[in-house]
């Protein structure tokens, strides 16, 4: 359960990232956040694991307060909240397995980390995670030798290795080609269902948002301007969120129904 109570985020530059957001995300929900560039999607997601500090209001994740948490408390919280990035953020020079083992860091002692001794229990967890995303055979391959889609699956496995109850994903498929984007989203959705993980995903393709989300949250200028089921989010809702009519580049692969013919040119 993630609860925002009138959360504000103001960056040191004075820019308002979040402007009075109140939300409740229940356990096991798959929430997709949409909005134009600069709307505050990344800020919303990063506030949840404290990568961006909340400047006013209350933010609670699984009963733990994120705002005002100490460094140690934040580390514990982050151990239970997984994060997937647009650019995968793997350590490309080490093996896939070592990347997945990163998910165990919050539960590994510093000394064990320094000497690289993760223990067989952690390794079993990492292998299970790789198995779930279907790339166990790449365990000992250098991450740099994987395709983009495979790298993002490794990142998903890293999150699974955390055995996290909450997963955050900031534009997880924006660097992938359309078929791969669909495949990776399907994988994410599948493991999310299997394990009942609460998931918050930023997407800017509305067809992906519609086909994968339980719930869609629309943002504009740091505020939540739409909050409803995927079925409720029809084209007019998106036009409302975006403040403009829809365009061809708002979708990954243009399904015929969603595009206003006038805007295709």
């Amino acid at each position: 359960m993630i609860t925002f109570r009138d959360v504000h985020v103001t960056y040191p530059t004075g820019t308002k990232g979040l402007d009075g957001v109140s939300l409740e995300i229940s356990d096991g929900e798959f929430v997709v956040v949409v909005g134009l560039s600069g709307a505050g999607k990344s800020t919303l997601v990063r506030a949840i694991n404290g990568l961006v500090p909340v400047t006013a209001g209350e933010l609670e994740v699984n009963g733990r307060r994120v705002d005002g948490a100490s460094k140690r408390e934040l580390r514990r919280l982050r151990g239970e909240v997984g994060m997937i990035f647009q650019s995968f953020n793997l350590v490309t020079r080490v093996s896939v397995l070592n990347n997945v083992l990163m998910g165990r860091l919050a539960r590994t002692s510093t000394l064990a980390t320094l000497v690289g001794a993760y223990g067989s229990a952690n390794k079993d967890i990492a292998f299970d995670a790789l198995e779930r995303v279907g790339i166990i055979e790449k365990a000992y391959t250098r991450a740099s030798q994987l395709s983009g889609g495979q790298q993002q699956r490794v990142a998903i496995a890293r999150v699974l290795a955390q055995q996290a109850g909450v997963v955050l994903a900031d534009e997880p498929v924006a660097s992938l080609d359309p078929p791969t984007a669909h495949a990776v989203m399907s994988d994410l959705r599948r493991v999310q269902r299997e394990l009942g993980i609460t998931t918050v995903v930023n997407l800017h393709f509305l067809d992906l948002a519609r086909s994968f989300a339980d719930r869609i949250i629309g943002m504009r200028a740091g505020k939540v301007v739409f909050d409803g089921t995927a079925d409720q989010a029809d084209d007019s809702v998106f036009e409302d969120i975006y403040g403009r009519s829809l365009r061809a580049d708002d979708v990954v692969a243009a399904p015929p129904v969603t595009i206003d013919p006038e805007d295709r040119a």
């Binding site: 990568l51 953020n89 490309t92 998910g103 860091l105 510093t110 890293r158």
Partner: protein, 270 residues
């Protein structure tokens, strides 16, 4: 006309070279450099006249240099070994320290206060020339290889830590952020997300440092730190240039060979 051609090319391609600084800054810089140059030439009484008047003074020394006493270079083989041993110990230990210090001297891996302090410490440490370090350690542990090792360790830390810290500053921040997001502490982040990224540069800096240590063996020995430089010091005192010449020729060959060797090893490791 040439300018417009270049400009049009530049428009088409974003790779255009950096815009030159405004002219006043450039001319001010040129002016200052010219003034300093004139002053320095005057201060050290720069002249090339001795090339005409005293050229013959150098003949005897040069003649001996071009007639190296090869037997001597072999006779001092024990000192060659000492030089290599000093270089191996100093570069391995120095670089190990340097890696740790570099992690403390980068904003990627250290808190602001710590990395500012460490950057200053390293700047101070690098400012002392190798000669000063040997002279200092000779007074502490007396002449011999131990002083040479300690001096070179200090010297190596200065070089390797600075270069490595700069590589750390430039690592891809993505994996570091990912490590932060899984709840890793600062040491874990450094070990898991930073060290693997800088390892290739660190390894090549270490080879470079080893090579520098062989080159520096002359200075080290002249200052009292043992090894082949000590031989040079003794031979200089007795003006035995033919002996010096042989030793230096061998040194040059050794440095050259090490350069090739380290290049091959680096290529295979990275």
């Amino acid at each position: 006309m040439t300018a417009t051609a270049t400009e049009r090319l530049g428009e088409r391609t974003p790779l255009r070279p950096p815009k030159p600084a405004p002219r006043w800054a450039m001319w001010a810089g040129v002016g200052v450099a010219a003034i300093i140059s004139v002053y320095c030439l005057w201060a050290i009484e720069f002249t090339l006249r001795p090339l005409v008047t005293d050229l013959t003074n150098g003949q005897e020394v040069l003649r001996q240099f071009f007639d190296p006493n090869w037997a001597f270079a072999w006779r001092v083989r024990d000192q060659w070994l000492v030089t290599v041993e000093i270089a191996v110990i100093a570069s391995l230990i120095g670089c190990a320290f340097a890696l740790v210090l570099a992690l403390m001297a980068s904003r990627v891996t250290a808190p602001t206060a710590l990395y500012r302090v460490m950057k200053l410490v390293l700047a101070v440490q690098r400012s002392l020339p190798d000669l000063a370090w040997v002279l200092l350690f000779v007074t502490v542990v007396s002449t011999g290889p131990l002083a040479g090792i300690l001096a070179l360790i200090m010297f190596n830390i200065g070089v390797a830590a600075k270069l490595t810290a700069e590589s750390i500053d430039a690592v891809d921040p993505g994996p570091v952020e990912a490590a932060q997001a899984v709840g890793a502490n600062a040491l874990q982040r450094a070990r898991v997300a930073v060290v693997p990224q800088v390892m290739p540069s660190f390894v090549s800096y270490s080879f470079y440092v080893f090579e520098l240590n062989i080159r520096a063996s002359l200075v080290i020995g002249m200052g009292g730190g043992g090894g082949i430089g000590e031989v040079i010091r003794v031979q200089l005192a007795s003006f035995s240039y033919a002996n010096i010449s042989a030793v230096v020729a061998v040194l040059i060959v050794v440095v050259f060979a090490l350069d090739q060797l380290s290049r091959t090893i680096r290529r295979r490791l990275i």
